[in-house]
Symmetry: C6
Subunit: 262 residues, 6 copies
């Protein structure tokens, strides 16, 4: 069950994986059933590649709105696995490089992965890896072709490869024929009101009355990333003592473009 999954993951994560943990922020919040489900499904992909001899390649893309927690989820699953080779390819490593350098760097990472008996490669933020912009639309076809081929290429005999990717714009990913290159396609959604309240409650900065009031005035879905920033802005603008109130939270939400009821 989920509790066991989590307890398995936490040590590995905290123990030996500094870089991955930088993608996970301060801590993963348990916001409910949908989060448990994502964890369970993620673990099953790792099982598949480690336990099934006939599966030499498995590729999964996590997609959803910005801030919904795709990168943190992929990093956490990776950190919680005990695969001998794990590598994150993120746009931040590639800033300012030319298209062809980026292609080579990505291909090099896969080549390294092929040397390990079982490997996990994470392609973080594929729209950014592809240099995608909705106007036009434009993107790097060289990078697209490289990623399409690498995601479908089985590793050499006797080796196994798991590929995780994160992306935002499902329509574009389908239109450019990248989505069907993945075996599995999993959505990471925004938090709904119940999940928002569970998150705020677990942060411990609102008393119960404030939470009841928030229950009435929240009318949006939001990403975990945005929700955490708004909470911190409210705390900074509050009297201190690690507490804040509904009015200050509303003001911070409004500054970030989230209008609350009333």
């Amino acid at each position: 069950d989920f509790q066991r999954a989590i307890s398995q993951i936490q040590p590995a994560l905290g123990a030996n994986n500094d870089e991955l943990s930088s993608y996970m922020g301060h801590e993963m919040v348990d916001y409910g059933a949908r989060y448990h489900n994502l964890l369970r499904e993620g673990k099953s992909f790792i099982n598949q590649i480690t336990q099934n001899e006939r599966t030499s390649l498995l590729s999964v893309i996590f997609h959803g709105p910005s801030g919904s927690g795709k990168t943190a989820l992929a990093a956490m699953l990776a950190a919680g696995s005990d695969l001998p080779f794990i590598k994150m390819i993120s746009p931040q490593m590639l800033v300012g490089k030319h298209e062809s350098e980026k292609c080579l760097k990505i291909a090099k990472t896969f080549d390294d992965a092929y040397k390990s008996p079982i490997s996990l490669v994470i392609l973080d933020d594929v729209e950014r890896l592809l240099e995608y912009v909705p106007i036009g639309p434009r993107f790097s076809n060289a990078l697209l072709q490289t990623i399409q081929v690498l995601v479908k290429k089985p590793p050499p005999a006797g080796h196994r490869l798991l590929v995780f990717a994160t992306g935002t714009n499902e329509d574009f990913l389908r239109d450019c024929d990248l989505l069907p290159c993945f075996n599995v396609n999993t959505e990471v959604p925004l938090l709904n009101k119940a999940e928002i309240l569970q998150t705020l409650s677990s942060r411990g900065v609102f008393d119960d009355r404030a939470l009841a009031e928030l229950d009435k005035s929240i009318a949006f879905d939001i990403g975990m990333k945005q929700l955490q920033l708004i909470t911190e802005m409210a705390l900074t603008n509050s009297a201190g003592g690690g507490k804040t109130d509904v009015a200050t939270f509303k003001a911070a939400a409004s500054d970030c473009g989230y209008a609350m009821l009333q």
Copy 2:
């Protein structure tokens, strides 16, 4: 007949052709009449180039949806022939190379082929060779022109050439004038329900009752590649003993985007 064809092929394949066999997965499944027909037609192309003196060039394109088995079929036919020169040109060999390098590498392979009295060149996944993307659409015109010319260019006097190609998007291949460069155009289809059941039955992981149940709940066509992955995912998520059940199969199919009835 088909049995003889298969028996002729298997030894050659197992015996001396490691690289080609990597494109064929664990084993070719006999899923019925349409598969026999593809094998028969494929063998006739090899006969034509080996036995007819007036045929110095024959080019065939296999097209069909992703996962339908085009690459495996072409590799199997090649491995089962006893042509003195066989070469697969696949996008995986060309990853990260520039357009002009790719053109040269492809032209070089044909030049090598011209030196043998009879040769087979396989152009695997032409959309990827052409760096095709539906948006725009875009593709490498340099690669298209190179392939168009090479596919139509007869080998030097006294030499013969068979070209196999695999492709997915028939409309694009017609629109860009590549399809008419081939003498023959053969479709490799998705598996229908009867073919799916024959495949699952031959894998031996369902009992008869489960197969009867599946007969009622399958309402899609699917590629052999996707079908095999779903079966393996179901096995991994099952109790073990090399068996799985309908419910676990349904869940795996659903994770891969195939919704079953009920």
Copy 3:
């Protein structure tokens, strides 16, 4: 309150920041409540990054019409803070450089910022940084991708980063997916009639009767930059003695494309 904020800011600004002050013109005019509000909000961003440990990255974009005072505001907030690292990236520094040089220069500035415990980077006039032109529209995708990644990339552990940006064309910034890369999005508006009159009054070149007359004949909103130029043109075309009159002001406004009533 605002007075304290201003008094805190002025010394720092005058004292040690020559380059920033060059973006602020002769002096900042207090044109009323909306200006106070912009200052207050700006100060809260600086507080957030200096005081909240859980906020390692905060990014804010100020947008509004040309001349509304975005650059001056960002420069003034920066000069009034006591952050150990402050850097303005403006198109003027990048004139005539190639796209890739510009990318490197921008990435280099962020790299420098990461070395300081707390830093502020200002991306001035993002449309110009992106080489944007409405026809097409066209812009540098390399620069867009670079800025998108840098604005969202958290600094290394133990470091904090505040990003200010200024931009004009909100629609384009949204369409190219740059706007959602910022946590906060703040509008800097044109001056309305009341704010124009307060500005003209504080400049001291009209007597009260002239101001009353202007109250009746102004029917446009205008940027602080344009308003100050028109005032100076009127002064130059006047008799001297540091005074001007309504007719001369009207003529100057008309030369600059602002038609007044009557």
Copy 4:
């Protein structure tokens, strides 16, 4: 008359022109009146350039569907002439070269031609020379401009030049302003039923009853190239003895995409 023309041509062709003969296949088939007419017209162009002093430049483009016999016709006319300089420029010579190399190579061939008192240059498959693809459409403007100028440029005083070209897509050639650069524009059509039967009859692989049956079941026009391949495929799939039958011919035609009646 035609018989004399042919007899004049055959010796020259067989005797001294290996490269050209490679473009003509095994032998030219006399398929009737339309073929005689093409030969007569072709001979008249050669007469014009050799016999009329006021004609220093004559350019002819042969266009028609793929396989209709344009290249073979141009090669045969060239081989049957006794012009002192004959050069074929074909896309096969230019495979993998860059646009500018191709331009130079083509210009160089014309320069060589200018050195001979009378020359014939054949531009084979102009769409491929221009790197044309219908999508877009796209093509090399550098190559188009080069060919447009060379086709219209008179040779130096005292020299004469005949240009033959072959092309497929008349609409494109008109739209890109290449067609009007030629003085004469001649169509090479597909074979109609009568011409198909004359061709099959002259090949001697059907008995009279089979030909009568074919007369009823052919309902398409076809290129000589495709017709010959289908005939050879039928022969390979037949019992042997240099004969085939209607059913086997139908099957081969169908594999090549030509459906016959019944």
Copy 5:
């Protein structure tokens, strides 16, 4: 008044500015009130930059149809000023240079200007500087970005800069966001009938009767440049003695595309 303005200007102009005078043709014609107004306005810009301490940057664009006299006007104003640094950037200096060379040359001129306490830079024929063509439309974005930034960049503290530009296509200049980069936008119109007659009269090649006749048959507006050419063509085609007649003028006008009444 205008007379004083002119008298101030003429000496400076004749005295020391050869290059500028080459842009002004033989002499400036006083064609009436609209010309006086352009001169007055132009002088006021020079006053503003020389006399108002708070104006460190003033930018003016003169736009109007080809031949209306924009370049001559800007050159004359420059020659009539006594600014210590005056530089004309014209497309003629940049012929055949690459985009990036042009950018550097323009930026270099502004850099030189920044060294003088007060400077005037003239950007002549901005559409040509931008390599603009209405089809597409196309233009050099690198040059546009360079000019946009330079026109808005204030000179270093203690320096002042006046920028004049000339342009033709107001719509394009607005669409590409160059027009709003200028503080002032002044139209230089074609000559109307009264102005044409005043110009022809001052040239002294028609007698009064001819002028009266022209008054009835002119039904177009025209640029000063075209009007002067037509007059000279008429003179060349006339009997001599420095006189011409209406019929010869009409014929010359018609050759230049200007149809007259009757």
Copy 6:
């Protein structure tokens, strides 16, 4: 009058100008009033630049359908003038060169022209100089900008420049803003029936009865170039003796795409 003009021209032309005469074919045919008019107008441009001191630059574009005689006319006018510097810039000189080389070569020719007191530069076939193709449309903007500037740039003080250009597609030349760069715009039309008959009559290969018959069966306008080729083709296909007949002429016209009545 025209006779004098011609007699003036012929000697100069025959005497000393080999290169120009190569653009004029065997001889210029006097086909009637419209030809006289073109010669008269052309001479007046040469007069204007040689005799009017106030005209330092005059630019004329001759446009009309392919084969109408634009290049021959410009070459003849040049050869018949006694200007000290005459240079033809034709696409044939620039074949295979890169855009920037072409720009430099054109600019160099104008620079050479500026060194002579009076010069004539001919820009032959501007569409080809611009690498124009109607599809897109596409053309070299670098070449367009270069030509636009050079055609409008006055030569240095004390020098005079006449520019002739020839072009075909008036609409494109207007759309790309090249047409208005020329002071004068003159049409060179196809020959109408009367002009065709006068041309054929002067060639002396038809008797009067044949000419009368042709009068009834010609229903097209045609370029002088095409008309002369058809005549020569008819002669080659005739019995000899320097005569041909209507039927043979009709056949040749039809081969060249001109259908005659009956």
